[in-house]
Symmetry: C2
Subunit: 186 residues, 2 copies
């Protein structure tokens, strides 16, 4: 299991790690229960406030925990956690405690009761700020209120789902196209 | 410029190419005008119908073309097109014809008037099916009505934006975690 030393990160720049489209783990807590789910359907919706839209199926056990507590944590796992990510997505919190079952360490958040997953590269504490699209689209609009990111490496090796059990692993990171940007577009 | 031979692809499986989170090019047409924009904020929202949510800023010239025509094409570029993708994102269709300026070939769609970009790996013809979230969130809910995907390679080498002029290039593709899935989760 990877161990990362994390520091505070500006909430309005979480696109750095989410816009490339990695699979994430969403942790939640409500009353005495906690859970973790695997999520691939998410997008940045705004910088300030730092909004993220994500699809959570109502058959997922996490659906009610997040809807009722109005909180969750988006955790960014790296490739070492890939088998765990798959196992989390293929089991239900109705039957097991996923932290215990998969040997993950819950860490207290600062702004939410939902636990952070210590073994992930980054943890984004979120409030549910708009629940009006849940019924029609299963769309949760979240605001990142606190971000913790590993001090190193600079670029996490993330996993990206293609469906049918296939993943793309993130590759090279490059600044070589940066000179083609207008200053105001950076 | 890459040249791809494309075949029809099932619209309910476009997640294969969009869920990993690549930067895409969105082409549009309204009356006598066409345009192309670069887009990084998008997510899968449903398989059947094949729904995609995407954020289009109202300052983009494409915003009105798509809102009024209620159509567009999502094109998936590969790494060879990276400089073109950046230049498209750093110029405005108010001033130039981006197809001509960047040497891209418009190809007729089957279900939409918006042109497909021939040099892209995949082209997804879309209808705007819900415009009710545009005012509040700049969120366009699109339905993919026709999909064209290159016959080879099996996995495109896509580009994923991190902000600040930096990109991640897609890396290895793997089926090695597939055995950890329950059959009904594939």
């Amino acid at each position: 299991m990877p161990r990362y030393t994390k520091t505070d990160f500006p909430v309005d720049n979480v696109r750095r790690f989410l816009e490339p489209g990695p699979i994430v783990l969403v942790s939640s807590a409500h009353r005495s229960e906690t859970n973790i789910m695997t999520m691939g359907w998410h997008m940045i919706m705004e910088f300030q406030p730092s909004l993220i839209g994500c699809y959570i199926w109502d058959a997922n056990h996490s659906f009610e925990l997040i809807r009722r507590s109005r909180q969750c944590v988006i955790n960014v796992p790296t490739v070492e956690l890939a088998p765990t990510v798959v196992k989390i997505g293929n089991s239900s919190g109705r039957n097991i405690d996923k932290f215990a079952e998969f040997g993950l360490t819950p860490t207290p958040g600062e702004q939410v009761r939902a636990p952070l997953i210590e073994e992930c590269y980054a943890n984004f504490e979120c409030h549910l700020v708009d629940s009006s699209l849940i019924r029609k689209y299963s769309l949760f609009v979240l605001e990142v209120v606190k971000a913790h990111v590993a001090a190193s490496p600079k670029y996490p090796k993330t996993i990206h789902y293609r469906g049918d059990g296939e993943f793309m692993i993130s590759g090279e990171n490059t600044r070589k196209y940066r000179k083609l940007f207008k200053p105001e577009m950076l």
